[in-house]
């Protein structure tokens, strides 16, 4: 199989959400000595891009996106040890997490997957993340964006606390703060002084690209 054929098959297997086929094709790519980074970029991520499109147009729903990302991750796990470190232009760097008090992370995971597949570097703080950790990690990692989500109305004030903490430390302008999740609205975003609210993962990626101008 040529490289292009294999990449196309990997892409299709991700779209078909077939983790076993993804795994065997990625093993095949390693056996053929193909560049692991290229396999990820041209196979797995191309597949996930298409999944994102299918989600945006309503052909795929969350179950399909999750299952496809499960397949993508199965492939990444195989390829990762073979990836060469390459120096590239500084990628968009994102710190993401679910605010303290909330452990619902489906939405956050979806945004993370979509951001990674768009080529952004994502530092995932997980769920139930303390306010200061968002700011501390963003500082330490020299990030561009802080993304926060919550499904629960009770934890919404945590988002404001992060914005306030950035202001208090005099570093508010260093970061774009974006928020999302079930109870969040544009009104709430304006009220707490965040930079952007998006309704779902696909529009979040679009918004980030818009903000950085790519």
């Amino acid at each position: 199989m040529s490289k292009e054929e294999l990449f196309a098959k990997i892409k299709d297997a991700v779209i078909e959400m077939d983790d076993e086929t993804v795994e065997s094709l990625c093993n095949e790519a390693i056996a053929e000595n193909f560049d692991a980074t290229e396999v990820i970029r041209e196979g797995l991520i191309k597949g996930m891009d298409r999944v994102g499109e299918l989600y945006a147009t309503g052909e795929y729903f969350l179950p399909e996106v999750l299952t496809a990302s499960f397949a993508l991750n199965a492939g990444v796990d195989i390829l990762k040890p073979y990836m060469k470190k390459e120096v590239s232009t500084k990628p968009v760097k994102i710190v993401i997490g679910v605010v303290e008090g909330d452990t619902h992370d489906i939405g956050k995971n979806l945004v993370k997957i979509m951001c990674e597949s768009a080529g952004f570097e994502v530092i995932d703080l997980g769920r139930d993340v303390p306010i200061n950790e968002f700011v501390d990690v963003a500082e330490k990692e020299n990030a561009d964006f802080i993304l926060m989500s919550t499904l629960m109305t009770t934890t919404m004030p945590g988002m404001k606390a992060v914005v306030d903490e950035l202001t208090a430390r005099g570093i508010r302008d260093k970061y774009k703060v974006m928020i999302g999740g079930g109870p969040i609205s544009q009104k709430f975003c304006d009220e707490i002084g965040a930079d952007a609210y998006t309704v779902d993962a696909a529009s979040c990626v679009k918004k980030i690209k818009e903000i950085v101008g790519i």
């Binding site: 959400m17 179950p63 008090g101 489906i106 109305t153 009770t154 109870p183």
Partner: protein
């Protein structure tokens, strides 16, 4: 019976007194007779525990606190329903999921009872002993005996699909539908059985029955997936209720428009829609076969708005919904958050008193 309100007023408009108790009003409506105003329910529950100075953890585990809150709500607001919910996690906890409780927050799923690998171990619950189910049923018994002659009392059951999400973890349920559909369906059958056992207790207590099924929202799954994995099992619960000569209502959070053709066929008598959906459309599609309940935004208006904004939002809902053939009930689009001002809760019921006559 006349209920004196404290003569609240909004820009000079004095709120009229209720002329009926919620119980009397509900009875007349069910007989097709005229009443003083449309019904208005406050979507309350554990988020309101702070109103009686009670930690949420304590509320979850005390039938006396549950009663105290329902009495407080009735005495202060005279809304048209009282009741207790199993909460979205109650049945899953009884089936073995580990729930984390907080003093100042809604409980959360900590560790699901099952994984896709051991899904066949789904537990058939013992209603008398498992999880908080006995506490909630005891609470309902107390609420019914204290308030039952003044206000309709109901118990909320969680839709089978949402229970499955709390038993497996939502992500694993969603992936499981694609990876091992038959196993998921076996699990749902066990949940239907468990729900029916609980429903039998609600029927024994002579309280109304409502369902909450947020994970079935088309914000998460497609209408086709709802038709295959959620609706058939929900319908089994509804059929069970109807076989005992009783009726029930349903609330789905988030988007649900794609599911209405199913819901029309479900046999429920009332559908509560989220504020992201349109009352006018629901009136057309669902109104001929069931009552509609909705849908003042719980966060932007109920929690963050002013009483005047609540009143205006309520007015619009009433205007859109009041001529629904099977009836209209004013409420918020979903459960009101912790910290919703009491003035706004008054304003919601006052909207029914002012505009719903």
């Amino acid at each position: 019976m006349l209920i004196k309100e404290t003569k609240r007023s909004y820009n000079g408009v004095v709120v009229p007194d209720d002329e009926l108790t919620p119980f009397e009003r509900n009875k007349l409506i069910s007989e097709g007779k005229p009443v003083d105003r449309i019904q208005c329910c406050l979507d309350t529950g554990e988020t309101m525990a702070p109103l009686i100075g009670c930690g949420i953890d304590e509320y979850y585990h005390s039938s006396d606190k549950m009663l105290e809150l329902e009495e407080y709500l009735y005495d202060n607001f005279h809304a048209d329903g009282a009741g207790l919910s199993t909460t979205l996690r109650g049945m899953a906890e009884a089936m073995g999921s580990e729930i984390r409780y907080y003093d100042n927050n809604i409980a959360q799923l900590k560790t699901p009872a099952l994984t896709l690998k051991n899904i066949e171990n789904a537990r058939r619950v013992d209603i008398e002993h498992d999880g908080r189910l006995p506490i909630i049923l005891d609470g309902l018994k107390k609420v019914k005996s204290k308030l039952g002659d003044k206000v309709p009392v109901s118990g909320t059951v969680t839709g089978p699909f949402t229970v499955a999400a709390m038993v497996l973890g939502t992500e694993w349920l969603l992936m499981g539908m694609l990876k091992c559909p038959d196993k998921i369906k076996d699990l749902l059958e066990v949940i239907v059985e468990n729900n029916n056992k609980y429903i039998d207790r609600l029927i024994d207590l002579e309280v109304g029955i409502g369902f909450a099924d947020p994970v079935s929202s088309t914000s998460l799954i497609s209408a086709a997936q709802y038709g295959e994995f959620s609706f058939p099992y929900f319908k089994k619960n509804v059929d069970h209720i109807k076989s005992k000569g009783r009726g029930c209502g349903l609330h789905i959070c988030g988007t649900s428009r794609g599911l209405w053709e199913y819901i029309k066929e479900s046999g429920v008598g009332l559908f509560g829609l989220d504020n992201v959906e349109s009352i006018e459309e629901a009136k057309e599609v669902l109104g001929p076969v069931m009552a509609i309940q909705g849908n003042v935004p719980p966060v932007d208006v109920m929690k963050l708005g002013t009483p005047e904004e609540v009143l205006e939002s309520g007015r619009i809902c009433i205007e859109q919904g009041r001529d629904t053939r099977c009836g209209f009930v004013l409420t918020s689009g979903c459960q009101m958050p912790i910290g919703t001002p009491e003035a706004n809760m008054h304003a919601l019921v006052d909207a029914a008193r002012i505009y719903g006559r």
